[in-house]
Amino acid sequence: MLSEAVVVDGLTVAYERIVALEDVSFKVFRGSITAVVGPNGSGKSSLFKALVGQVKPRRGVIKILGLDVSDARGKIAYVPQREEVYWDYPLTVWDVVAMGRIRNVGYLRSVKKNDEKVLAALEKTGLKELMHRKISELSGGQQQRAFIARAIAQEAEIYLLDEPLTGIDAESEDRLFDILSEMRRIGKTVIMTTHDLSSTFEFFDNILLLRNRVIAFGSPEKVLTAENLASAYGSERVAMHLTDVGRVAGWR
């Protein structure tokens, strides 16, 4: 059963006179993993902001599981970039993951110490032993897994990961891909941005190549051609380099 998780049709996002996204359309099915690829300033984060309702589109329609963005709150989980979070908070890993339960538990109640959803999410991300450690004391990869655990505890259907490959080592990257594969297996939908083209692209079901408009969308083999990369990244030379990287990584 193939049902649509995210449908974007004719999306245009603009800040004053700067057009961040122009006439962007694509469709992502449930249980798939999509990479949004493009250079800095290509509109990747504007796309995420539009998906979670942080910016109002100038034109176009976004449907999340058939719902408008404002009605889909809570169905989307967002895994932030490092800089978006206030690290001075003396919170433990458990505290952060328990935040994911905030809406389900409701107002005026606290999340129980033995909350099963929180413990299961910690288990899945391999953080159970670290649950009493301060989040700020963990490695970059562990911190990221804590935020993914929070997203899992939230029981969302769609997971948005903003540049998750930035600043983590190869081992953390492997673990991240393991966790994401498991989520795909149980029917969750993952969309992540990346400008890191050395990652293993065969992992993804779809690539959305952006440069303020859709350069190409579809399977990695279809999208990652020298021609598409050249029009996304501007220069033939960069694109050639990228395809070389790709060939080494074995995705073409």
Partner: protein, 277 residues
């Protein structure tokens, strides 16, 4: 006996009793907010709101509406203005705060000097502990109780929003509402401090207790407890100093808070070097 007298004598004066109760209430109120202000990095924003309350107080005095209402409105409008400037222009947050802070403060000074020269600017800015009325005492106690209650009931929402604002809004929390409730509370804390520490030096109580707690606390609960303890201690010691030195209570309370911060800083350094040795 002499020591007991030293501590009890100020309490025999009616105005000092009111001053103690009000200062302690302000201490609790400001130091609770201080935890969030420090962790979220809102120190400058707290400073801006404290300055921005001035024109609200001046205009309220002119039009004979309650000072509390005028001050709270001014605080909210200024925090809203900062948000709008930041979102709608390319001006950075600290710049937006600087613009609103100085503009509002200047408006307050012009309004006071032009319209109500009898309003004592010095007392508004730095407190006048002799003048705490029963009404102000009750108001301060009520605001402190409201802030404690709000933090008690909605702590997990407050922490989630201030720790990770994007998460909070994506998860479906009313982020904007939470933001402005916190801004209103900071404004009310500033107004409640009018008589004891004044609207400028209350910034010391909005920043320093939380910063001291951050040096010492291992978790969030400890941080609130230490911060509130520092707030109360600063209020009490500061008032005794004010009484015996016949000095401005706003100054002595703020100085006490500062002294506690440096004492905690030194204590931490000393224990750290003792451990590493």
């Amino acid at each position: 006996m002499a020591i007991a007298e030293f501590f009890l004598e100020p309490l025999t004066y009616r105005f000092m009793q009111s001053a103690f109760i009000t200062s302690i209430a302000v201490g609790i109120l400001a130091s609770t907010l201080s935890v969030v202000i420090v962790l979220r990095g809102w120190a400058l924003l707290g400073d801006a709101i404290s300055h921005a309350v001035l024109p609200g107080l001046a205009l309220a005095a002119v039009f004979n509406i309650p000072l509390t209402l005028g001050g709270a409105l001014a605080g909210i409008i200024s925090s809203f203005a900062i948000g709008v400037i930041e979102q709608k222009t390319r001006v950075r947050n600290d710049t937006a705060i600087g613009i609103v802070l100085t503009g509002a403060f200047a408006l307050g000074l012009v309004a006071i000097s032009k319209l109500r020269p009898t309003l004592d600017v010095f007392h508004i800015l730095f407190g006048n502990v002799l003048a705490v009325s029963t009404y102000e005492l009750q108001l301060t106690a009520a605001v402190a109780a409201a802030v404690l209650l709000f933090f008690g009931l909605f702590l997990k929402e407050i922490v989630a929003y201030t720790f990770d604002p994007v998460f909070a809004s994506v998860a479906g929390l009313p982020s904007n509402l939470l933001h402005y409730i916190l801004m209103v509370m900071i404004s009310l804390a500033v107004i409640a401090s009018l008589q004891t520490v004044g609207i400028i030096l209350v910034v010391a109580l909005l920043i320093t207790p939380g910063a001291t707690a951050q040096l010492l606390a291992k978790n969030l609960l400890q941080m609130f407890i230490i911060s509130i303890a520092v707030g109360i201690t600063s209020a009490i010691i500061g008032l005794y100093l004010s009484f015996y030195l016949a000095a401005s209570s706003g100054g002595t309370i703020a100085l006490t808070a500062t002294a506690i911060f440096f004492a905690a800083f030194l204590a931490k350094r000393l224990t750290a070097s003792a451990v590493s040795r």
